[in-house]
């Protein structure tokens, strides 16, 4: 894999580290790096959120035979920035008899949960804030923290719509966590590691969705469905179900606090898509076909970071496609889907995979 070294970011990061070491004490270096990475992520986070909102609006518009945003800037590219400015200057409405502290805290919990999950995502070789040896586990744990924020938002805003939405969201995320975990576990069993970089390295000769036979594909489908549910997106957007609960848990939020929820929803979508791309579609690994040396070589010249974003946005597109096609489920059907279909399927699937791995029947 000579080409991977071509675009290796670890050289760049380690040289920055060396340079900083030459200037200050190791403790200060750690601190400076933390601040730098934090700032970088915040910037990336905001830009990505804005872009995803724009993308969603464009994608759904074209699906619905519309043009979509087209007023602000060329092709409406600056529309979401204009929206952000509008949200920033909007009044923050205090709700009477609401629990002011929790009410204000909730959006931060939601957004911090999705920020933290992003830390472990490998964008390219060496371009990863922190490479845990339990990366999959960490992302799973952190991304499900967001539900605490949602429950708080629903409870603290002293609105009946909000509390119903929050309760739905709680039931939903707790249930779907299982399927998400089990479908990720399938690949952990295949690759024998929870470290995201190791999982990616193990896909150098083929992505898990291809070389994991049918079980990996089943795990992929289950992950896609369950993670769509976990991030509260249509057809599983019961927590905000606008035709039933107006806006669900964020009914009473306005201005920038609403923007936090909104942004977190899109970032969560990105995280889930990135995770799916990393685990099932080979992360930043280029697309290779068996022994087609020439083809593989051309693919190698596309930088890994491009591959990563291509795959991620493909998954994001799939999630958007779901949302703009399907009607919403009812809460009991949602739970039936999880406990009656997804969970048994993924349980059987993981046993099957364990058997495959034991027999050594995978590539």
């Amino acid at each position: 894999m000579s080409s991977n070294n071509l675009y290796d970011f670890s050289k760049l990061t380690s040289s920055i580290h060396e340079w900083l070491l030459g200037m200050m004490s190791p403790n200060w270096v750690t601190f400076t790096e933390l601040v730098l990475i934090g700032l970088l992520f915040l910037l990336f986070f905001a830009l990505l959120g804005l872009f995803l909102v724009y993308l969603e609006r464009k994608v759904c518009a074209i699906m619905q035979n519309r043009v979509g945003p087209n007023r602000v800037g060329k092709f409406g590219l600056f529309q979401t920035i204009a929206d952000l400015i509008k949200l920033l200057i909007k009044e923050l409405i205090p709700i009477r008899k609401s629990d002011a502290f929790l009410f204000n805290l909730a959006p931060f919990i939601v957004i911090i949960a999705s920020l933290m999950a992003m830390a472990a995502l490998p964008f390219a070789k060496g371009l990863q804030a922190i490479d845990f040896n339990i990366g999959v586990f960490y992302i799973m744990a952190v991304s499900s923290l967001g539900v605490v924020g949602i429950l708080l938002a629903g409870w603290a805003s002293n609105s009946k719509y909000s509390i119903i939405g929050a309760m739905r969201s709680g039931a939903q995320i707790v249930s779907y966590e299982l399927s998400v975990g089990l479908s990720l576990m399938a690949i952990v069993v295949f690759s024998g590691s929870m470290q995201l970089s190791t999982i990616i390295e193990s896909q150098a000769n083929g992505w898990w969705i291809f070389k994991g036979h049918i079980p990996a594909f089943i795990a992929f489908v289950v992950f896609l469905i369950a993670s769509t549910a976990e991030i509260n997106r249509g057809p599983f957007d019961l927590a905000e179900a606008e035709s039933e609960l107006t806006a669900g848990f964020h009914t009473e939020y306005s201005g920038i606090k609403f923007a936090f929820f909104f942004l977190a929803e899109y970032i969560n979508m990105f995280i889930v898509a990135a995770l799916a791309a990393t685990i099932f579609l080979g992360g930043w690994m280029p697309f290779h076909i068996g022994s087609w040396e020439g083809f593989n070589h051309i693919m190698d010249f596309i930088p890994p970071i491009v591959w990563f974003f291509l795959k991620t946005f493909f998954i994001i597109y799939l999630i958007m496609w779901f949302k703009w096609t399907f009607p919403r489920l009812r809460i009991d059907q949602l739970l039936t889907l999880e406990w009656k279909y997804l969970l048994p399927v993924s349980l059987v699937n993981i046993v099957f995979i364990a058997f495959l791995v034991l027999m050594g029947w995978h590539f």
Partner: protein, 374 residues
Amino acid sequence: MSEEIRDVIIGESEDYIINIGPQHPSTHGVLRFEVCLKGETVKYLIPHIGYIHRGIEKMCEAITYPQIIHLTDRMDYLSAHINNEAVCLCVENALQVEVPERVKYIRTILAELNRLASHQLWWSAFGMDLGALTTFFYGLRDREKILDIFEESFGSRLLHSFVMPGGLMHDVHPNFQKRIKEFIVYFRKKLPEYDQLLTGNIIFQNRSKGVGLMSRETAIAYGVTGPSGRGSGWSCDIRKIAPYSAYDKVQFNEMLETDGDTFARYKVRMREMWESMNILEQLVDNIPEGDYTAKMKPIIKLPVGEYFQRVETARGELAVYIVSDGNKNPYRMKFRTPNFSNLFVMNTITSNYKIADLVAISGSLDLVIPDIDR
């Protein structure tokens, strides 16, 4: 505190009452439901109406019959033409005026086009109620074609006060027939897409099957007419029972489903769209030549008496009841609007269903609020 009183208080405190409306995405207008929930399950529901009560019946007492037409437009604005036709038929019956055949044919075509447009909008909004947001745009996209036909002939898209007592305001546009035929060809291709997108969808079927069960007896007792009543197996199509205009000259079937659930009501409307196109096809080539209006006096005065006329709008039975004292304006005018009766069955058919089903049921009844309040 006695045991009884405490029970009552606790019972009340467990009532979780939420207001759906008057501004809510799923009520399609200024309608308010006071919903009592237990968990997610609806215990009972009280509709509150009157937010858009304009007193059309009172206004009618002060204006002449041709002027009433522009008010009936604004009751059920989605089947505006059919409302107008009801008043015109009632006035013509009272005066014993025989309208020309051409007028009858054109009125029937307009009524069916209007029914189609109304059902398209209903389909769009119903999908949106259930969370499939794309249906809204596909439905409106196709409805636009009908509105374009309306605009070409009558100059307005929604509230075209086009019929008058005795005939029509003016003749239809020369392109009228051609454009309807084009539309039928176009919509025959698009309607199967509706089925693929929504009807066949497993989520949609789970959401609508067995939800909001309404028996035939309930439908009759509450006077739920139109596609909603026919979904319960009650044959209540006025076009069949008492044919008016040119409905006695066309072959068509009354769409009946016996399940009585939301999906049955949905299917009735979908099949009515196909049937409306069949009716249009039978009529559009056979519009007879002739006058577009019968000879009427400049000031219409009905003879003393009481007149009653029923028509089938897109949502059910519209009855017009005129009491005349021989003047140029009616002494009393009563509109029995379909939505008024259809609304009040909500409490019966939503109790013990989930709140999400409430949205689906109210969508399947296809309520238009100005028609309820008048």
